[in-house]
């Protein structure tokens, strides 16, 4: 799985790593039980601080996407808890995206089409 980092983005690097790993799990690129690189190895490879990677892993662990232990390092959880709801922050983000799309003149059908495309491929 390829992680694309934009150093100049408003989104912090640890959040970019977190988001892309979540997308990887959702799309099936990262499978349950799959080993993730160590914090040090990933930081060295990306040329970023180890604290940044550590923060991303910590967040993923708190959110229940990965599990970590001293012996095996970080792995994708084999069973991710399905809450069946969207968090309030994600709802707000979705609302912002829909609003921007509407203001840009994107039709509702087009937006739903995109949603179906993303959800379909990522289901």
């Amino acid at each position: 799985m390829i992680i694309r980092i934009n150093e100049l983005s408003d989104i912090p690097i640890y959040m970019q790593i977190r988001n892309q790993i979540v997308m990887g799990i959702s799309s099936g690129e990262l499978e349950g039980g799959e080993q993730l690189p160590t914090v040090r190895a990933l930081a060295m490879e990306m040329g970023i601080n180890t604290m940044t990677v550590s923060k991303a892993y910590q967040l993923l662990k708190t959110e229940g996407y990965i599990m970590t232990d001293r012996k095996n390092g970080a792995r994708i959880r084999t069973s991710i808890q399905k809450q069946g709801s969207i968090s309030e922050s994600n709802k707000a983000e979705l609302k912002r995206i829909v609003s921007e799309a509407r203001l840009s003149g994107v039709s509702k059908a087009e937006l739903i089409g995109l949603l179906e495309e993303f959800y379909g491929t990522e289901s």
Binding site: I3, I5, L36, E45, M46
Partner: protein
């Protein structure tokens, strides 16, 4: 001896400039990942743009080819004209100039390609980097086991040389024994082997490149490249350890500098051969994977002149070279700045050493008696031996009958100066060996000197004056 030095310089220089030419100057640019250090992009494939790139590559490739031809011809001439005055100085300066000059068309090519990119309106997304999670820390090719053995052989050679110099073991009746020359030579070569080992492991752990969205392609591409590099390093380590150390031991046994220099020449041929094979294989890998290169990481602007990496946002110090073989440093990294500064200092220091060597070659030695002392002068008073302290003075008709081994100092065809072991005795030497004659002086304190003037007449004159006063 200087003729062998010329051969070694020739073996080093000529393959280096042609390997550099093969690496930096793309003949079939459409198959390359980089054109003069600028990322090859889909936008370059259009007919108009393609013609412009053809023109840029043709012009600079031809310029580099012409330069290489000139340097090769000069190298051959320098090799043939072995009796040239100041040839060591000329050779070293020539190597410095050639290595610098061969990159000049590349720098021009880089500038032209960046200008073309700008004229096409291509603006690279800044600050973008890609990492393949599946290749992080997993693509390794250099096995520790493959480098342990050559290093053990190297260490053993150093121990044997040291024990021979300490006279704990006796290999042969060699005049070099006890001078620690063999220990110094073997030790230095062993340290070079250790350095190659460290560089090999650093190179093996360098960031894997992302060329495709397919992780398997990325893993295979990086594995192929690192395997090729690991093979080169292992071959270099073996060449370094066995070949040169064995020949250094031969030097102990034979006491002949020629044997050692011939060995270094053969060693250089091996290293250059390994490098040529590596470059050829690396280019084949690039060609095979060119069609799979779907991810473009355009960081051209971070490479000054397509050669020097400067990225303050990148925490890595060691980066794969864009032009040439091996790795380079991130000049924006704090340690990179220090290494860069030390690099410039070492180049300046090397140039000063070369200039000093040139001055030694150009300045004739002078031997005279003045104010009651024998004075050996070249650029400065090297030795002042008070006549009152001289116990005996012996005239040597032919110094080539002596067995001389340099411990430290200068050893040129036209000048021998410093501490030498002569017929097994530790001596101070100040000689123009091509004039053959010398005076052996033994002082009351037991110190031995072998000295001569710039001409046989000068030596004879000082000997006559000494004989009269003793």
């Amino acid at each position: 001896m200087d003729a062998f030095f010329g051969i070694i310089m020739f073996i080093c220089l000529v393959p280096t400039i042609w390997i550099t030419y093969a690496l930096l100057y793309p003949r079939k640019w459409k198959e390359k990942k980089l054109i003069f250090g600028v990322t090859n992009r889909k936008e370059f494939e259009g007919p108009d743009v393609s013609d412009k790139i053809d023109a840029i590559t043709d012009k600079n490739n031809k310029a580099a080819f012409r330069l290489n031809m000139v340097f090769t011809v000069i190298s051959v001439l320098l090799l043939i004209l072995g009796t040239l005055p100041m040839r060591t100085f000329i050779w070293v300066m020539f190597v410095f100039i050639a290595i610098f000059a061969i990159s000049v068309p590349y720098v021009y090519g880089n500038k032209e390609m960046k200008a073309l990119k700008k004229s096409l309106g291509i603006i690279a997304e800044k600050g973008i980097s890609y990492t393949d999670l599946k290749t992080v820390g997993t693509v390794r090719a250099l096995k520790p086991a493959s480098v342990i053995l050559p290093n053990i052989v190297g260490a053993l050679t150093v121990i044997i040389a040291l024990l021979s110099d300490l006279k704990v073991i006796k290999i042969a009746d060699s005049p070099a024994s006890g001078t620690f020359l063999a220990t110094a030579v073997c030790g230095s070569i062993f340290l070079v082997g250790i350095m190659i080992t460290v560089i090999g492991f650093v190179m093996d752990r360098i960031k894997s490149e992302v060329i495709s969205t397919d992780s398997d392609i990325n893993a295979n591409y990086n594995r192929a490249k690192k395997k090729n590099m690991a093979k080169m390093f292992v071959l270099m380590m073996w060449a370094n350890t066995i070949f040169v150390c064995a020949l250094s031991l031969l030097e102990i046994l034979s006491g002949s500098g020629i044997v050692m220099i011939a060995g270094i020449g053969l060693y250089m041929i091996l290293v250059m051969g390994a490098l040529a094979v590596f470059v050829h294989t690396d280019q084949r890998i690039e060609k095979i994977y060119h069609k799979d290169m779907t991810v473009i990481q355009d960081d051209d602007d971070l490479w000054i002149a397509g050669m020097f990496y400067y990225n303050p946002s990148d925490k890595r110090l060691n980066i794969e070279k864009r032009a040439g073989v091996g790795s380079t440093i991130n000049m924006a990294h704090p340690a990179g700045k220090i290494i860069g500064f030390l690099g410039v200092l070492s180049i300046i220091f090397s140039l000063l050493v070369v200039i000093w060597t040139g001055m030694l070659e150009a300045t004739p030695i002078n031997l005279r008696i003045s104010d009651g002392s024998v004075i050996c002068h070249q650029l400065r008073d090297e030795y002042m031996i008070p006549v009152a302290e001289i116990e005996s003075a012996e005239y040597i008709d032919d110094i080539h009958t002596l067995s001389m081994v340099r411990t430290n100092g200068v050893g040129m065809d036209t000048l021998l100066k410093g501490n030498f072991s002569v017929n097994g005795e530790s001596c101070k030497v100040f000689l123009a060996p091509d004039k053959r004659v010398a005076i052996k002086i033994v002082t009351t304190s037991g110190r031995i000197y072998y000295i001569s003037g710039a001409t046989a007449a000068e030596t004879d004159s000082v000997y006559d004056q000494l004989s009269a006063s003793l």
